[in-house]
């Protein structure tokens, strides 16, 4: 019997040993993976190792981003930094493909957080609330304070008086249109009012339907994505906040939104929208536009880069200011995703080293080249002054002009029931009582807003004097 137990114990020890070996093998495999999530999963051990060996070896920093369009340039910058910095800091880049926010959540909850993170307007407030970010106020030099002073915005990069990130670029939004198709339909210029947009879409469809050409399209597979790249811009240029929030009253009011929706509904009714747009994703839409099948759509300043690299096209296209409700420009076009770029992890053991890397990335030369290569449109005034325009076809229509500006942040709330985008898209497809839908949205969004304010998650300060032509009050 003793022999049996001895055998059993030996077997268990062997099994544990094999499992242990397997685990090590896996880990070494992961740490060898470059620029993938597996690489990210080993962030903490090496960061800690960096901390432990700081006296003898280099400080190892992990930088995570979900930007893919600029990764070659960022790699170059990091290589240069690793070779030239005199503080013995080594940065390792990890480019996430999908689910960036979830990966960051998992990394922080398992103590494997990166030292430097790419921040965007969509995730910064969440990251601050979750305690992921370290304030950078104490590191800022006087020069940097001057350089970025006009762009330090509450609830964008500054929360409760503390600064967590600095801006680099932003995205402008424009009407993207096919000049050849417009000419073929006898239209001289891009529409300046929504009624003109509806009429133009109808003319284009009538002229091109037999060849499969339609006047308008959007990526309605995700209605919120579609509306946030179109109606948002139409409204801000028309003098209203583009996500349904009234900055003057500090309450949600979807009445202006519902006015724009009526024109979109009309285009559906007219049959001017590309068939199948209800389940169209943005890339298939771009592929169809590149193939000359769509007259116009609304989107971000990422489009010139997309048509240069992702969907190279011979069509004659351009970007123009979005149309407004009545053809009059009463506000400014909102530059979105501006105000944030890099942030430092609150859990990093090397925050000073992380700041040195961040300081390098925010240098004039880096920001200038970033703009000139067309990775984003510079919003930092001193960079805008010295940078040359990017040499990318179509980009001239997206450059920041007199009608572009940054708007105050919209409070983030999660209402019960359907979102404004889903509710209005349903109205476009199936009809209903627009007034009742608008009132229902106002009720549910303001209830969610009150709840968020009560919980201390959101602060709202009504600004009765808000001027949409000068959103920053300058």
């Amino acid at each position: 019997m003793q022999k049996k137990w001895l055998g059993l114990s030996l077997s268990l020890m062997l099994a544990a040993g094999i499992a242990g070996c397997g685990g090590n093998g896996n880990n070494s495999g992961n740490s060898g993976a470059a620029n993938g999530e597996a690489g990210g999963s080993t962030a903490s051990p090496s960061a800690e190792a960096g901390g432990n060996t700081a006296k003898s070896g280099p400080v190892q920093l992990k930088y995570w981003t979900d930007d893919r369009h600029d990764q070659e340039y960022i790699k170059e910058l990091i290589n240069k930094f690793n070779e030239t910095n005199s503080d013995n800091i080594q940065v390792e880049l990890t480019v996430m493909s999908e689910n960036y926010t979830q990966s960051v959540d998992i990394a922080f909850s398992s103590n494997q957080a990166p030292d430097v993170l790419r921040l965007k307007s969509a995730n910064t407030s969440e990251f601050v609330k979750k305690g992921y970010l370290a304030p950078v106020d104490s590191y800022l030099t006087d020069d940097m304070k001057t350089k970025f002073s006009s762009l330090m915005l509450d609830n964008v990069n500054r929360f409760d008086g503390k600064l967590y990130s600095l801006p680099n670029t932003g995205l402008t939004m424009r009407l993207v249109y096919n000049k050849d198709i417009f000419a073929k339909a006898g239209i001289q210029n891009p529409p300046v009012s929504l009624q003109e947009m509806v009429d133009d879409a109808k003319k284009i469809t009538e002229a091109g339907k037999t060849e499969g050409i339609y006047g308008f399209a959007l990526n309605f597979k995700n209605p919120k994505q579609a509306f946030d790249r179109s109606i948002r811009e139409i409204l801000s240029l028309s003098g209203y906040q583009g996500l349904g929030f009234d900055l003057k009253t500090g309450q949600f009011d979807f009445a202006p939104y519902s006015q724009v929706i009526e024109y979109f509904k009309q285009m559906y009714k007219d049959g001017s929208v590309l068939p199948g747009a209800e389940t169209l994703d943005i890339d298939p839409l771009r592929a169809q536009f590149a193939a000359g099948k769509i007259g116009m759509y609304l989107s971000f300043s990422t489009e010139p880069g997309v048509y240069k690299d992702q969907f190279p096209t011979e069509i004659n296209w351009a970007g123009a200011l979005a149309p407004t409700l009545d053809g009059q420009i009463k506000g400014t076009s909102e530059i979105v995703s501006a105000g944030t770029w890099l942030g430092i992890s609150a859990k990093s053991a090397h925050q000073e080293a992380a700041w040195k890397f961040m300081q390098y990335m925010y240098g004039d030369e880096v920001l200038k080249t970033y703009h000139e290569k067309g990775f984003g449109i510079a919003v930092v005034p001193s960079i805008v002054e010295q940078a040359k325009n990017p040499d990318i076809k179509g980009m001239e229509g997206f450059l920041v002009g007199e009608h572009d500006s940054l708007w105050p942040a919209t409070p983030s709330v999660t209402p019960e029931g359907s979102t404004y985008a889903d509710a209005f898209f349903k109205y476009i497809l199936t009809g209903g009582d627009a007034k009742a839908i608008t009132e229902d949205l106002n009720t549910r969004y303001n209830a969610a807003l009150s709840k968020a304010v009560e919980k201390g998650e959101v602060k709202v300060t009504p600004d009765p004097a808000f001027d949409p032509a000068k959103p920053q009050g300058e």
């Binding site: 969440e126 309605f220 919120k224 199948g276 209800e278 169809q288 983030s412 898209f425």
Partner: protein, 299 residues
């Protein structure tokens, strides 16, 4: 007696790893969810105890109940097409068919391919502006205009067809295993008695297959009620919620997709929805088991 106990002790040691994994990854999350369905919790910060508020919200949440309705349509459609088709294929392949093994492999292949991959392929096949289905239909002059296969009218039918394509091979294999356990003597005796193929199928195959069929149908019901992966890729639950099924709705609450503005996770309410969804699946499975209890005794 003492020998048996010792033996039991030795054997139990081998169960420890799987017990630890089951508790850590299966049972602990369940209790975690059962706790948070009484809280307002976004995954960070303090969880606020709200009692039964999440369930009150659930009762008035039209989107959830619409998704339950869609789930029944999706599961019903999928089962009605998948089960007879897989049984038919299994019966055909159970005979001495030339190349039978190859055909089994071909029919089973969709089960092995990643759902995400096949869903992307089917999105391209069914899209209305340049999809293959419409191109073929128009070239054959069967339709004059592209059919909006992924539009509000036909999207549910399309996702059901994709789900059937992915599931038939799996159930065919299970039916095939059941068919091969039926003794050949019965068929030979019936043939001697003059029973034709149809009669042999109704009077021998179906009754003998009943216990296996009961289990296969139960698995199919559960899988159909819980299925959402291909729908997520093909339509994301749209257009206008026409293909939003229960578990896709749940997924979106727990893992919201950020699209330019922050969207909070609703772990508390999501837990309540998850619990309700599990109760619905459990109740239907239980009801099926009750109604089909005689199948287990038929042979």
């Amino acid at each position: 007696m003492s020998f048996k106990w010792k033996r039991l002790g030795e054997n139990s040691l081998f169960l420890i790893p799987s017990i630890i994994l089951t508790v850590a990854l299966g049972i602990y999350p369940l209790f975690w969810m059962l706790r948070y369905m009484f809280y307002d919790y976004a995954g960070y910060g303090d969880a606020l105890f709200v009692g039964l508020d999440n369930f009150r919200r659930l009762m008035r949440d039209g989107l959830f109940w619409e998704s339950v309705g869609n789930t029944f349509i999706f599961a019903g459609g999928k089962l009605l097409l998948t089960l007879p088709l897989s049984l038919l294929l299994a019966v055909m392949l159970n005979g001495r068919l030339r190349g039978g093994n190859l055909l089994r492999g071909i029919y089973f292949m969709p089960t092995v391919i990643s759902t995400a991959v096949i869903s992307v392929v089917f999105y391209n096949i069914f899209n209305s502006y340049n999809g293959m289905v419409n191109t073929v239909l128009m070239k054959l002059h069967l339709v004059s205009q592209p059919v909006d296969w992924l539009g509000p009218k036909h999207a549910m039918l399309t996702v059901i067809l994709v789900a059937v394509w992915g599931a038939v091979g799996n159930y065919m294999l299970l039916f095939l295993a059941g068919l091969q356990s039926i003794p050949q003597d019965l068929y030979e005796s019936a043939a001697i008695d003059g029973a034709n193929a149809g009669r042999r199928f109704w009077n021998i195959t179906l009754p003998m297959l009943a216990p296996v069929a009961q289990m296969v149908i139960m698995l199919a019901i559960i899988a159909s009620l819980k299925g959402y992966e291909s729908i997520m890729v093909i339509t994301e639950g749209g257009p206008i919620g026409k293909t939003e099924v229960m578990y896709l709705y749940l997924y979106k609450l727990l893992f919201p997709v950020s699209t330019g503005s922050p969207v909070a996770q609703q772990l508390g309410y999501g837990s309540a929805v998850g619990f309700a969804s599990a109760v619905i699946v459990g109740a239907i499975t239980g009801l099926y088991f009750f109604l089909s209890r005689k199948m287990n005794k038929v042979y």
